[in-house]
Point group: C2
Chain length 177, copies 2
C-alpha cells in the first residue's frame, strides 16, 4: 500500500536553479535540492526531464542555485515558477541577478545565499533527472531565514509547478487553486 | 570563494534509514533525503561510503526511511545517530520497530511516516553514496509535525553524526559538544 500523503512529511527549502547555454538563459523553482558531500562540496538537484532549465543544464553542464528568503513575495516566485522560459525571458523580468563566475545567471534578490556548480554526474529517474553539481562558489547574501516548502504551502498558499515531483500530491491539497 | 556557511541555509528533515542483509540489521540518522518522482514514487538518500548502513544497503538493495517526529527525544535519536552498528545492536535497544513488507526493519516509534524502498540506482560522489529507491510502501504513522534539521540544531542542540555531509560545517558551530 502506498499512501502518497506519507511523503508530505519530508522537509525541503525552495530554490531558484538558473543556467544558460549559448546566450539562452533560464531558471526555475525547485524544492528537491540537498547537499551530498562537504569536501569538496557537492549538491544534488532534481528537475523534470521536459523542463527548459533541464535542457540547458544538460548542454552547459553548469548551474547556480539561490536559496529563497522567507520574506520573498509570490510575484517574485511566480516569475520563475509558474511559466516556461521557452518563450518568455524570465531574467528580463527579474532585475536582481548577476552573472556568476561560472558564466550562468545567479538570482540574488529575495535570496539569502547562492552557490555556483559544475555538473559531475547525471542520473535519470523515470520522469526526472538528477544533476550532481560540484560547488565552485558559495556565498551568503543576507541574514534572512530560508523559505521552507512547508511555509510556502501553508502560509503563502502557493501553487506548485506542474512538473514538480510532488505535483500529484499537491493536486490533492484543498488549498491548491 | 566558497563560504561553507552558505550551505547552512538549505532546509532538511531528519530521517532514520534502516536495512538488513542476511540477518544483520542496522539503521542510522540522515538529513539528506528527498523525493525525486511522483509516478512511480522514488526518493534519493545520501550516506557516507564508510557507514555500516551503506554497506548493508549495498548488499540487500533494500531500505526503509522513517520521518522523525518533532517531539522525538535526544536519547531516541542517539541510539541511531551517535554510534556505529558494527558492534552494537541498535534494534535490540529500540523497541518501536517492525519488519517491513520488503523484509527490512522499519522504525515506527517517534516517527510520523515511513516508506519502504528498493534501490534502483547507486551513484558515488566523493566521500558519499547516493541511493535512489523506488518506494514500494508508504504510510502515515501519526499526525505529528516532522522534525526539521534546523530545529534539531537550534532547539535541541543536537550533535551531528561524524559522517554527515554537513559535519565539517557543524564543527564550526559553537553549540557542538
Amino acid at each position: 500500500m502506498i499512501d502518497p500523503k506519507a511523503l508530505f512529511s519530508l522537509s525541503y527549502g525552495l530554490y531558484i536553479i538558473s543556467t544558460q547555454h549559448e546566450g539562452n538563459m533560464n531558471g526555475q523553482i525547485i524544492n528537491a535540492m540537498m547537499q551530498l558531500t562537504a569536501e569538496p562540496i557537492c549538491i544534488a538537484i532534481c528537475l523534470h526531464k521536459d523542463n527548459y532549465t533541464t535542457e540547458l543544464i544538460g548542454k552547459s553542464g553548469l548551474f547556480s542555485a539561490s536559496v529563497l528568503d522567507s520574506e520573498v513575495t509570490m510575484p517574485f516566485i511566480g516569475n520563475f515558477g509558474f511559466r516556461t522560459g521557452r518563450n518568455f525571458d524570465k531574467f528580463a523580468n527579474c532585475k536582481e541577478w548577476v552573472t556568476g563566475e561560472n558564466g550562468v545567471p545567479k538570482v540574488t534578490g529575495s535570496c539569502i545565499a547562492a552557490v555556483e556548480a559544475k555538473v559531475i554526474s547525471v542520473t535519470d529517474v523515470y520522469t526526472h533527472r538528477v544533476f550532481v553539481g560540484e560547488v565552485t562558489l558559495a556565498e551568503q547574501i543576507s541574514e534572512g531565514k530560508p523559505l521552507t516548502y512547508a511555509d510556502y504551502h501553508i502560509i503563502k498558499k502557493g501553487k506548485s509547478p506542474a512538473n514538480a515531483p510532488s505535483s500529484v500530491f499537491n493536486a490533492l491539497r484543498k488549498d491548491r487553486d
